[in-house]
Symmetry: C2
Amino acid sequence: MKAMPTQKIPSPGKTASIGSARQLIEPTAQALKSAKTRSRLIDATIRCLVKFSYADTTTPKVAEEAGLSRGAMLHHFENGRQLMQATLVELHRKRLRAFRRAAGTLDHDARTLLHAYWDQLLRPNFIAFQELANASRTDKELAAVLEPVRREFDERWHELAIELFPEWADDLAAFKIALALTQNTLEGMALNRVTHGIDEETISLVLDHLEKVILDLRPDRRS
Amino acid sequence: MKAMPTQKIPSPGKTASIGSARQLIEPTAQALKSAKTRSRLIDATIRCLVKFSYADTTTPKVAEEAGLSRGAMLHHFENGRQLMQATLVELHRKRLRAFRRAAGTLDHDARTLLHAYWDQLLRPNFIAFQELANASRTDKELAAVLEPVRREFDERWHELAIELFPEWADDLAAFKIALALTQNTLEGMALNRVTHGIDEETISLVLDHLEKVILDLRPDRRS
DNA sequence: GCAAAAGCAGACACATCTGCTTTTTTCGTA
DNA sequence: TACGAAAAAAGCAGATGTGTCTGCTTTTGC
């Protein structure tokens, strides 16, 4: 996605862009189609991010991928930037949803949770998310969207872990380490896996050992 | 850097592009200036990668950053692509050099080595390298350059670690785990630090605990 | 049913990037 | 000192991306 002029003024009269207050004010039928089209565009954007990377994702490509005209797309987002921002938010929602869904069927042991997290990182959604996170390093507007999203994700992830393993609440310091270690290691491994392939064996070794490390950190197992 | 046509045929008569056989065949004086200009261009590219990201690094920007004309740049590299590839190789060399340099003055304990690695990841060079590594996911030509580079880096890193801690040679399995764990965790943390800031406290906690984990993995400390 | 509004498509103008070609400058060497 | 090759600058045409604008179709609310 090429350099675009800095965001336009929100222009209050227009179609509500990111927030979807419309559906509440006007819960009528046609708005449903609109939402569906937006979804199609966002999903197309995600696919493009995976296929072409952020650098080479362009509005024509997204439109083509979505099977829509570029005009249609700019009707819904009016900006390449806004499309990206909306996509980032949507990716966040998807990740969160996936976690919630997994949480229900999860055994309450570290191994399961670890592998659940890892599985998430293998999904294309993670690649797309990573592309945007990386882009946000130099795109302040994207960063402004990413920041709260990331914060919420960490909170939810924190909550889920505590919910599954209440004993951790006894030692929040150790818990913090365990979380940080898990997150950074797994995400680092996921990224390295994408660029320079890692053999499955190494992945297993790391996962297994990480599990051991976490178990050692658990309050009831410590001296 | 925008989509460019797939690589041109090497055209043997031209100025030797990546390999610098020129300096050997023609070790004369003026070639030194040429090499210097190449360096200037590559360094400018690195700075651009950091400032603008790969997506928004363009040949005009690089030329301006280098204080040269675009024509001059295409005289030396004839291709935006080749410039990026050369930059990737150069970044690799720089990383390797930094490691070798550090290796000399290093105490032989895990903590020092860990922090040495971490310090490398805080340098702008790592960001630039990461930008290219990420780009190589969808750019096969870049990937073709990255692959051997990465392999060599891993080997050197492996060698260095063994050299500093010969006792690891006794248990290569544990060694492999320790290396993978260290690399993935630190790199993951470095990347997360760039996009969404991590507080220094957490970083310290992770580093300290990682050190402990590695010590536990050491052959002479195990049961 | 009809006017207003939204969904959608295509065309337009502007900007910019890319690679190529041509010209000027620099500088070593005969 | 003058020649010639390499370095550097400048100019050019093609391609592509971006945002805006206009027009057509469909839905919605009165």
